[in-house]
């Protein structure tokens, strides 16, 4: 068996193409980013090597802390909602007796198919303080609960996170559905014979069996949240003021609006490290859970 699974030629054949392409197109630029994060550089000229000055500056920049905090808020909101709702919908649609499963399945995925520009424009209209749908509903209900959804520095990041959560829930739904489908039927049969309720069966059998699926859903959601950029770029441009900045946005501002490419690279380097730590934590946690099961 070891010989079978340790076939050197096969391993090389399988991994080399991906590794090579990835190294050249993705990893090499990442290394460049780390390298350039130690430069004072505008992206065009030679630049000057300044060791860790960019990082020292970063840790004194209040905008950096705002950005990190917003990234975490964003990541938490999208992780909880996407995986939470995604799971409920996936288990419900996997149930062979739910009516119109096909239509439901297609519908849940529609927001993912649309471009992020369309979805952000829609939510901009919904959140708008003057003409928006949410405030209009409150008005019709006679409630004096009009909110500045995207223009209050406190709620804006949450409002934007929900847009992302809502749009990409479909991804998690599809991945989880594929996961549910991969759980062999006989396990569920066994649970049924034991007289377990549906919920019990899901909690005791499906979810532990889908540990790997949940692992990549978590990694995907959390790193996606920490990385968030397009939503704020389209919806608030980081505003009002700087209240919806994330590390990627800070990077973008530094590199292109301010012309400090080195400083922006330092922000990006921190982001990569942050994501790596998050991934390692997730791997640890889920691995442990599997052992306990």
């Amino acid at each position: 068996m070891n010989k079978f699974l340790g076939n050197k030629t096969a391993i090389l054949l399988f991994i080399l193409p991906a590794l090579l392409l990835y190294t050249v197109m993705v990893f090499y630029p990442i290394v460049q980013t780390f390298f350039r994060s130690m430069y004072e550089w505008d992206g065009l000229t030679e630049g000057t090597f300044i060791w860790f000055d960019n990082y020292t500056r970063l840790f004194q920049d209040s905008l950096f802390f705002t950005s990190v905090k917003n990234g975490l808020i964003f990541a938490i909101i999208i992780t909880v909602t996407q995986i939470g709702i995604g799971s409920i919908l996936a288990f419900a649609v996997a149930d062979a007796k739910i009516k119109g499963r096909k239509i439901l399945r297609i519908s849940f995925f529609i927001p993912v198919v649309l471009s992020i520009t369309v979805v952000c424009q829609l939510w901009l209209s919904i959140y708008n303080g003057e003409y928006g749908l949410i405030n209009k509903i409150f008005e019709i209900l006679g409630l004096e609960y009009k909110q500045d959804w995207l223009t209050s520095s406190k709620s804006a990041i949450i409002a934007i996170a929900f847009v992302n959560a809502w749009q990409y829930m479909g991804y998690h739904f599809a991945l989880l559905l594929a996961g549910v489908k991969s759980v062999p039927e006989q396990y569920m049969e066994a649970a049924r014979i034991d007289g377990a309720t549906k919920l019990q069966a899901i909690l005791k059998i499906n979810i532990p069996m889908m540990a790997e699926t949940y692992k990549f859903c978590l990694v995907f959601a959390i790193t996606g949240g920490l990385n968030a950029f397009a939503n704020m770029y389209i919806m608030t441009s980081g505003g009002p003021g700087t209240s919806t900045y994330t590390l990627t946005y800070l990077m973008y501002r530094s590199a292109f609006r301010v012309g400090e490419f080195g400083y922006g690279s330092a922000a990006a380097a921190i982001l990569v490290i942050e994501c790596l730590i998050a991934t390692l934590i997730i791997n640890r946690l889920i691995a442990r859970e599997r052992i306990s099961y």
Partner: protein, 280 residues
């Protein structure tokens, strides 16, 4: 299955919730089509959510005349198909080796590939653009296809890795005993098992490539190679934007994907059932 029936009969709220959520999910599609037939005033002020009061097909005329839709469409399709094929092939081979074959650095290699998911594209844009130039890919389809494949490898590998990890080892043991080669095992036993994941990833990567804007706007300069999302550029001015025409451009760009998705979702459904049948 009677217990399930019972559960559902007692619990119609689930069914209602599912349908409400479905309506909420489909609304943006309808909204986009409404939007594409309005002018700025209607979009933002007088009627942001309802059907257009006056159908402005001129938005489509404007969008269509601005860019060569059939050519852009073919470019998008070609790039997306090549990206899907390349990324899936490379990722599935890599993640199989990383997840199941026995070699020393498999864990490290897996983590190494994963890092690609963490990097915002904006930050590596300049090194990437230089790379594309130095590899002589500039102004070829390769300028998009090669980076797209590379950037989709990370995510696809992570998903495939997860699926491969949950397959019991007995699968390979029996194949080995039957005298199948590792390649045969991979293609005829392993790939069919992860068909649900394959089908899902085909859609994901297709969409990623189809809707990609950031890299396309910078890496493609030749008119004959432009993809659909680049059409959005034509309507955003410094001070004003023709939102209606932009809506029309977005509709032209995304309606085909919706249709492709709906058609293709049949295949996904089949793939999903086949997948579980093999195991069940």
């Amino acid at each position: 299955m009677t217990w399930m029936m019972k559960l559902r009969k007692n619990n119609p709220s689930m069914q209602i919730f599912l349908w409400l959520y479905a309506i909420l999910s489909v609304y943006p599609l309808v909204w986009m089509i409404f939007y594409s037939l309005k002018n700025n005033n209607e979009i933002f002020v007088t009627n942001p959510f309802g059907p257009p009061l006056h159908l402005r097909f001129e938005n489509y005329v404007a969008a269509w005349s601005k860019y060569n839709v059939p050519a852009y469409f073919m470019n998008s399709l070609l790039v997306a198909v090549a990206t899907v094929a390349g990324a899936i092939l490379l990722a599935v081979m890599f993640s199989y080796a990383a997840a199941r074959l026995r070699w020393r650095f498999s864990k490290i290699a897996h983590t190494y590939i994963l890092v690609g998911m963490f990097i915002p594209i904006q930050v590596i844009m300049i090194p990437l653009a230089i790379l594309v130039r130095d590899l002589n890919l500039a102004n070829t389809y390769g300028a998009l296809i090669v980076p797209y494949i590379a950037f989709n490898i990370s995510f696809a590998s992570m998903v495939f890795y997860g699926f491969f990890r949950s397959i019991p080892i007995e699968m390979e043991e029996s194949a080995c005993i039957d005298g199948a080669s590792i390649y045969r095992t991979f293609f005829s036993i392993m790939l069919p098992i992860i068909k649900p994941a394959l089908a899902t990833m085909v859609i994901f990567i297709f969409l990623n490539s189809w809707n990609e804007f950031t890299m396309a706007v910078i890496l493609i300069t030749k008119e004959s190679l432009k993809t659909l999302p680049l059409g959005l550029l034509f309507f955003q001015g410094q001070f004003t934007t023709d939102w209606g025409a932009m809506g029309a451009a977005m509709t032209i760009a995304s309606l085909p994907t919706v249709l492709i998705y709906i058609l293709f979702s049949e295949q996904v459904e089949n793939a999903l059932t086949v997948g579980s049948a093999v195991k069940g």
